[in-house]
Symmetry: C2
Subunit: 282 residues, 2 copies
């Protein structure tokens, strides 16, 4: 596995691949890799000749007071995992390489960035859109692979690709879970054993609401209340939001017609965790 | 010259060029071509194997009440001019091809889009950034060529390329003028003979202020007043703004240090015309 730290070195390698006619599937990450990330790598291997992974803890997507400085970083371990899975190239730039000077261009998608996580993480999705646009232009992959756990992010990146005509195929991979249902997340590393146990309430709450939707509940407000009620049963966990929204617009659904996104964010100790379930109703 | 109207057809041709190792210089236009556009084509020929030109009157960069519907369109004449200059490909999509559905992604650069023309054309530069990002992703040119007459636009596109890491070399070509100094513009077609004569006051006013800057005037306000005074001498012409600003930040310069952008917009009959001079002071 080749590790490159500069845009120039990456582009030189990209030129070589074009000449040889090989394609690239790109998996952007912030490192602290888990089986969820590795599932993205596996999917990438099915879709292109080479998988390229970036590890970049992007400062512009952390809101003030969030965990940018303490976000887990272990490039040596991450590199080993990626090499084992056959990743061809690791792009691990420092912040100055991606943000050499203060930027002026801003990206947004006001109806989609304001709700759910966006309401609690000021500037987060604007930072995500910015860094993904940069990375797409740097890597120029044929395919880009993202995880479904970050539903709002995946939706925004789909609109970024569609609206700006990025020549990239977007692939969204289902959430990978621990045996007890907890969604894999780099931030699970913040949990002590008791918090780790309590954190399972997030998926249980969403699954309970999904079961209600599948058995006839059509009120978004009732589904949101169902999520909140289950989370409230776990005193170590604080609900940040519970949402039952249209999967395309992220707007509340008073009466669910066909599909509903059930999404929630909770705080457990010093970890903020998110999860979601997309439910098709009959 | 090949004329294509769909993104798919353009990308197919682009793939062929990559395989043959040929490079593309891209000249995005709104048609109604004049010698200024053709100078961009000529520069493109020096910088790449093929020159590709787009003609697309972009609705999102026209403010409400502006001249979108009456903007001059003559693709047959434009196509002939481009073919004569050795252009390899004309991309002439319709609006639905570029905007197949309402977009949600927005681009902006607040400190740079708000002043000068931006203060008088609500949403104009946001629309320019959007369509240029789309066109760059559609055409994927090695080089893109723009004119210096639209200084604020050129500056914004430079920041778009730098901030979003677009893999394109940007080339800015000096303004082409009529013999009497009037900058070439598609909107000059709106002028009747008397207005055409009166419109020369725009360049005269900027040139007069530039001469003052070169002979020692260091007050931005005094230079702006000088532009306004010359324009006021021509009753058929109304000044929209006169600016003496920092060429990088577009902010007012109370005391000019090294370089100053002198820029102005005027209204003559139904035409809004702009021009600028960049002055290096000693």
């Amino acid at each position: 596995m080749l590790t490159v730290r500069t845009i120039a070195a990456l582009r030189a390698r990209r030129q070589e691949l074009w000449r040889s006619g090989h394609t690239v599937a790109f998996v952007p990450t912030m490192g602290a890799l888990h089986e969820g990330h590795l599932a993205l790598v596996e999917r990438g291997r099915e879709l292109a000749d080479e998988v390229w992974v970036s590890i970049f803890v992007n400062p512009t997507q952390f809101a003030a007071g969030e965990d940018f400085t303490r976000y887990p970083r272990d490039e040596e371990r991450d590199g080993r995992l990626l090499a084992e899975r056959g990743v061809a190239l690791l792009f691990a730039p420092d912040v100055k390489e991606i943000y050499p000077r203060p930027g002026v261009i801003t990206l947004d998608a006001p109806p989609l960035t304001g709700g759910l996580c966006g309401a609690h993480r000021g500037g987060h999705f604007q930072g995500v859109l910015l860094v993904v646009a940069k990375l797409f232009n740097i890597v120029q992959p044929e395919v880009a692979v993202f995880g479904a756990k970050d539903y709002q992010q995946a939706l925004l990146i789909r609109r970024l690709v569609d609206d700006l005509c990025f020549p990239v195929r977007l692939e969204i991979v289902p959430t990978v879970r621990e045996a007890d249902g907890l969604a894999m997340s780099s931030r699970n590393a913040y949990l002590d054993p008791q918090q780790r146990l309590a954190a399972t309430v997030l998926h249980r709450a969403l699954a309970a609401a999904a079961a209600q939707a599948q058995t006839g509940e059509r009120s978004g407000a009732a589904l949101e209340a169902a999520i909140a009620a289950v989370v409230a049963g776990e005193p170590a966990v604080t609900l940040q939001y519970a949402a039952a929204v249209d999967p395309e617009t992220l707007q509340p659904q008073p009466n669910i017609a066909r599909r509903v996104l059930l999404a929630a964010a909770v705080v457990v100790g010093s970890a903020r965790l998110i999860d979601n379930i997309l439910v098709e109703v009959q």
